[in-house]
């Protein structure tokens, strides 16, 4: 078991009972090339941290590349979960991989918390359970107020450790109700699930190909119509990519520090775009597929909602919490003031537009294109309303507007057409999801998130007055990210140099030895 826990090169040396090999002394001649190569590597990797003159390498893009079942779908699925959702998060890495995966894990958890969903953390590695708790402690340290901090067994759950590797995972998939009953500290969680099917999504964070394989083999086949999001280190990426390319239910992988950087930038853009000094919602163009009058009017209504709803909801926010604070009060500077140019000033409550309501008893997939094999952009829930932008040729799919500015497609048999007013649209939500553009905007405008299932409360995560707001929304120290990326470039350069120089020396030595040896 210790071999599994410790991981890395130590396990092969220590795990079979042999003593660790003693390295050659630095003073021995044979150690000199190794020391030289290491010194070169350490020097080049260190330079970006001490001087900006060595800022080599391009930064990763701010957007994930478009790929079927790839990182974009990974992000979109997480961006559309709601407070009703439970996300099973598998922490399958220990301290040895923390330097690579902590950033991704923290972003993933922050994303889930920001969407007000509840992560259930589980692991087949006992140290990973402890490590996950440390990451949540770190997130809590970035929250100013004590009442806003995340509470175990309320805002998140650390489920009991799964012993036995693949056997433990098999138990998870077949006996989830019992496993969810007990926390990692042996306390009752109060969770009452019937099966793993009650989860909305599963997310796996791992540094090991074996864990990817185990989850794909022991857990994924046991659930139906549920996506497994995979975040890995570089070493596990090749296998994870093969699963993502082959299985519809495997999404990702998001991997390595470069993807972590892009993930952070996307979160930054998502939250930052809703800040008061930036447009709240971009006007949506009318679809050219359907020439319906209702749909032609839609952009006006969209703009009206984008500006009218924040004010309405902002005034309700203090009454929703028992302890309103100054930061919850919308101020003149924080609230986007509708202007004549931005808002055509229709009476939003009188305008009508065509919408569809989800009538399926189960959650429905909203896809990028009108086909079941394309990417899932978001999940719709019974009772959810979406504006209709158009239909496909035979009317079997509706093109709808999503809250995050994207447009998606939902199968017609899962929804029902309705003509609604803006106020009906706002009041017609059956869940308190964050998928209403205005509501989500004002939530983030005030840096106020509601968390918890049993006792809803307002979660004042961040103080809007202090510092860079985007930085605060993400709530983490990003000062090391860029130097690390540059250090990666320098490190790669060093590795290539060492390999090339080593091979040259080896070739020269071979030539010299051949010259010295007598010809046969």
């Amino acid at each position: 078991m210790l071999k599994d826990i410790v991981g890395g090169p130590l396990q092969s040396q220590e795990g079979d009972g042999r003593r660790l090999p003693r390295p050659a002394s630095v003073f021995s001649l044979s150690a000199f090339p190794r020391l030289l190569g290491t010194a070169l590597l350490l020097l080049l990797v260190s330079l970006p941290f001490v001087s900006s003159d060595f800022a080599e390498g391009e930064l990763p893009p701010a957007e994930f590349h478009e790929d079927r079942h790839g990182p974009t779908t990974f992000y979109n699925l997480l961006d559309n979960i709601t407070s009703d959702d439970y996300i099973l998060v598998a922490f399958e890495y220990g301290p040895a991989a923390a330097g690579e995966l902590d950033l991704l894990a923290e972003l993933l958890l922050r994303h889930i918390f920001a969407q007000r969903a509840t992560p259930l953390i589980v692991s087949s590695n006992p140290i990973a359970v402890v490590h996950a708790q440390n990451i949540i402690k770190k997130i809590n340290r970035s929250i100013d107020t004590a009442e806003g901090r995340l509470a175990v067994n309320e805002d998140y759950y650390l489920l009991r450790y799964l012993p036995g590797g693949a056997l433990g995972l098999r138990e998870l998939s077949e006996n989830f109700a019992d496993i969810a009953r007990v926390s990692a500290r042996g306390q009752l969680t109060g969770l009452d699930f019937t099966s793993l099917q009650d989860m909305t999504l599963m997310a796996l964070i791992t540094d090991s190909s074996e864990d990817v394989r185990n989850w794909a083999e022991q857990v994924l086949p046991e659930v139906e119509d549920m996506d497994l999001l995979i975040a890995t280190g570089y070493a596990a990426q090749p296998l994870a990519q093969a699963y993502a390319d082959s299985l519809d239910d495997v999404i990702g992988p998001v991997y390595g520090i470069r993807d972590a950087y892009t993930y952070g930038k996307k979160l930054e853009a998502n939250f930052g775009a809703l800040l008061p000094d930036e447009p709240v919602v971009e006007p949506v163009e009318a679809s050219s597929d359907v020439g319906d009058n209702n749909i032609v009017e839609e952009p006006q209504v969209e703009r009206a909602r984008a500006t009218a709803l924040p004010a309405a909801i902002a005034t309700q926010a203090p009454t929703a919490t028992s302890t309103p604070t100054a930061t919850l009060q919308p101020t003149a500077t924080d609230t986007p003031a509708p202007t004549a140019t931005d808002t055509p000033a229709p009476t939003a409550t009188e305008a009508t537009f065509l919408a569809v309501e989800v009538i399926s008893p189960q959650r429905v997939n909203i896809r990028r294109r009108p086909t079941t094999v394309d990417d899932v952009l978001a999940l719709g829930y019974p009772g959810d309303l979406y504006e209709v932008l158009g239909t496909n040729g035979d009317g079997s799919w509706y093109e709808i507007a999503l809250d995050n500015g994207l447009e998606g497609w939902v199968a017609a048999f899962l929804v029902e057409e309705r003509v609604v007013t803006a106020s009906e649209f706002a009041g017609g939500r059956t869940n308190d999801s964050a998928s209403l553009p205005g509501e989500r905007a004002v939530m983030r405008l005030d840096f106020t998130f509601r968390l918890g299932k049993n006792e809803p409360r307002f979660y004042q995560a961040l103080a809007p007055e202090s510092g860079d707001r985007t930085e605060l929304v993400l709530g983490r120290d990003r000062s090391q990210e860029i130097p690390r990326l540059q250090a990666m470039t320098m490190g790669t350069l060093a590795a290539v140099l060492v390999i090339v120089i080593g091979n040259l020396l080896y070739a020269i030595r071979g030539l010299l030895q051949r010259r010295k040896s007598p010809s046969v």
């Binding site: 826990i5 150690a31 990797v45 330097g99 082959s246 299985l247």
Partner: protein, 226 residues
């Protein structure tokens, strides 16, 4: 204060691990070993605590649950499982007694066989069949998507030649030696290229992982020292 102490401990332990680079120098050489022993010791202790609190203790509490009686089927089943597990654990402790090693081995046999059975079923349903289906899946419109066509061909050729690499077939020569057909040799060579490329990609990915972890530690050391 506590955070500073933890950071200081991290700084010292990181330097101790890096002392491995200096080789087997008296005193310095042992620093690496001490750091490793601390890590393994703490890992073992945490494992024990997490296993006890998260697995063993809830199980003990469950079988003592006054809500269920000894006569109820559910509770009886829990008790049978508990005593079976206890028996297996005791048998494992007999490992040092050479004449009773077969008892310990039989416990291992049960665990290994059950593990293998679960593993095989999972491998078939979770990996082999789905990946096989994806491998043989032909795009709907091959003419319209040249990239998909190339992908499909590469996967097909890579799979077939990769499998063939592990297959050895030769005909015997008159002098008693073995001779492989030129076609077979060609397939094996192509398969080798695919295998080496795949292994090279995995190795490169592992180097990137190591570099990522190294940059985090270097950044930590420099930030701490600054």
């Amino acid at each position: 204060m506590a955070e500073n102490t933890i950071a200081l401990a991290g700084f010292i332990l990181t330097l101790m691990v890096f002392s491995y680079l200096l080789g087997d120098v008296p005193l310095i050489g042992n620093l690496y070993r001490i750091a490793v022993y601390i890590f393994i010791g703490m890992t073992a202790a945490f494992t024990l605590i997490v296993s006890y609190e998260g697995v063993i203790l809830p199980y003990l509490q469950d079988i003592q649950d006054p809500a269920t009686t000894w006569t109820s089927l559910g509770n009886r089943a829990d008790i049978y499982i508990f005593f079976t597990a206890l028996l297996f654990a005791l048998l494992l402790l007999l490992k040092p007694v050479k004449s009773l090693t077969w008892l310990t081995n039989s416990v291992f046999a049960v665990v290994i066989v059950v593990g293998a059975a679960v593993g095989v079923v999972g491998a078939l349903t979770g990996t082999l069949f789905p990946l096989l289906q994806a491998t043989v899946a032909i795009p709907d419109d091959l003419t319209g998507d040249f990239g998909a066509l190339v992908d499909t061909l590469l996967i097909f050729v890579g799979t077939m030649t990769g499998l063939y690499y592990f297959h050895y077939q030769a005909r015997s020569r008159a002098d008693g030696g073995a001779e492989q057909s030129s076609v077979g040799r060609g397939f094996r060579h192509i398969g080798k290229v695919f295998l080496v490329t795949a292994l090279g990609a995995i190795y490169a990915s592992t180097i990137l992982t190591c570099l990522t972890i190294l940059t985090e530690r270097i950044g930590f050391l420099i930030q701490f020292g600054a």
